[in-house]
Symmetry: C2
Subunit: 314 residues, 2 copies
Amino acid sequence: MAITVVGSVAYDSIETPAGRKERCLGGAATHFALAASFFTDVRVIAVVGEDFGPEQEAVFKARNIDIRGIERAPGKSFFWEGSYLENLNEAKTHATELNVFAAFEPKIPDVYRDSDFLFLANIDPVLQKRVREAMPDVKLVAGDTMNYWIKDHRPALLDMLKGLDVLVINDTEVRMLAGNNNLLQASRIVQKFGPHTLIVKHGEYGATAFFNDKSFAPNGTNAQGEPTPFRAPALPLEEVVDPTGAGDSFAGGFFGYLASQGEMTPAVFRRAMFYGSVMGSFACERFGTERLQQATRKEIDDRFALFRELTHLD
Amino acid sequence: MAITVVGSVAYDSIETPAGRKERCLGGAATHFALAASFFTDVRVIAVVGEDFGPEQEAVFKARNIDIRGIERAPGKSFFWEGSYLENLNEAKTHATELNVFAAFEPKIPDVYRDSDFLFLANIDPVLQKRVREAMPDVKLVAGDTMNYWIKDHRPALLDMLKGLDVLVINDTEVRMLAGNNNLLQASRIVQKFGPHTLIVKHGEYGATAFFNDKSFAPNGTNAQGEPTPFRAPALPLEEVVDPTGAGDSFAGGFFGYLASQGEMTPAVFRRAMFYGSVMGSFACERFGTERLQQATRKEIDDRFALFRELTHLD
């Protein structure tokens, strides 16, 4: 089943302990789409400027990603500059230039309308909500957000969350959004805002999914009748070259695998979490999208097997 | 097979977001011994003061822990005061009073000498080394340390590490000890100091074991011939009441299960890691040793099953 993703397609200038790269192709929708493309058909809605040319198009086309929903606008593409010199788990933003994104009005190509899966990558929650409402027939909607929207655009964010089935978010953000430092309690609070399933990303420690009684793929339950969470690991890597896009790649692997399967069972959900971790780990191995562009399905499945070995008792 | 553990038996005054408790029974050897006692015979070497009476003895005796190696000395027992108000993963120390520990000279009772397993809990590495040398015939030696010894007693610590098979250490400490921020690289450096197996504790994210070609229970290997690490989860808890002793309880569960098994296979090692995580998670649920005192083997095995469900694909 096909996924439509809306989000940023951008250029990133990144500095990490491994070096510095100027104007890599990036953006949440880009990382998500590349990761998901190994599993299913992916369609992108975004806006780019005149600096997005055949070379960037080719990155998407090489992975059979439909970019008919990427609008070209006069001006420059979204640009982000950041570094991870002190902490590889948290970017320090040096510059954000919205450029063509400032006036972005998402338009959904008719050919995208039969998508069964919708991913609302991290952009203004007002836009996320608009896309969600324009595609009322999708079977499953997941989304991401970030500290900026949580802090300064809370009403719009809460409004958007009502339309989500699955929220993918990181440790710090879920605590900030809930106003509670306990991960379990924070997750329960955020689930009340809308999403029945919450996936909390822990960076180098993996990710945990929290379910409630509306989740389509809950685990067993504890004595209080609450479903058991599920935790996927991350791989201890020899060198984290660039963590930019690792979270979006996680989301792409997770949602891509889910969309590729006929049914939503707990087993499918668990495998999707593992594939998310696999794609997130690849993303960190090179700057920008380089590693995801080069990955093969065999490498992905080999790493999946490694993740099983890393965590399974037998 | 029996374990001898040397380390502190102490009193802790602890403040956490859940409240404050004065002078709980604590100390690394106490938490370790209680956790390990659910799996095998445990013998403690420590020193206590005149403030250690029948009530404290009873805590050990209720779990059949041999305390003939706990020496009574004039004066007061080791005392620690700390809080976790800002960060539940890291204690802030307000007071450390060595008291009787200042002049501690570990003596090994003859009845302990047939122990096959030795655990050197966190104390002065000079004392750890002395006990290790006094028990040359043990089959497996594991130990712990902390930032204080890493920073200010490095030569003695490096000397002690030569005698360890397994080092149990936390994230921050392994990076500090290795002088390298990458977990995989840091582990490899520390393994060269002596221990063939390294268990790095990640607090609420579990623990990862790193092996080398001398490890008794390595996993499969990657393309470079390096053994795959193994990661045990931690449980997302409703409320972390008091993390004091969680790491020692992890070590006790891990080493206790290992000692209870006839052979060291990868499967036994993996299960031991899970039992470590189980005991660590119980330890956090009440102040001091309260939860470990009340635990039952059935609760422990139920939680083991929950940890499997939390992380396993099928």
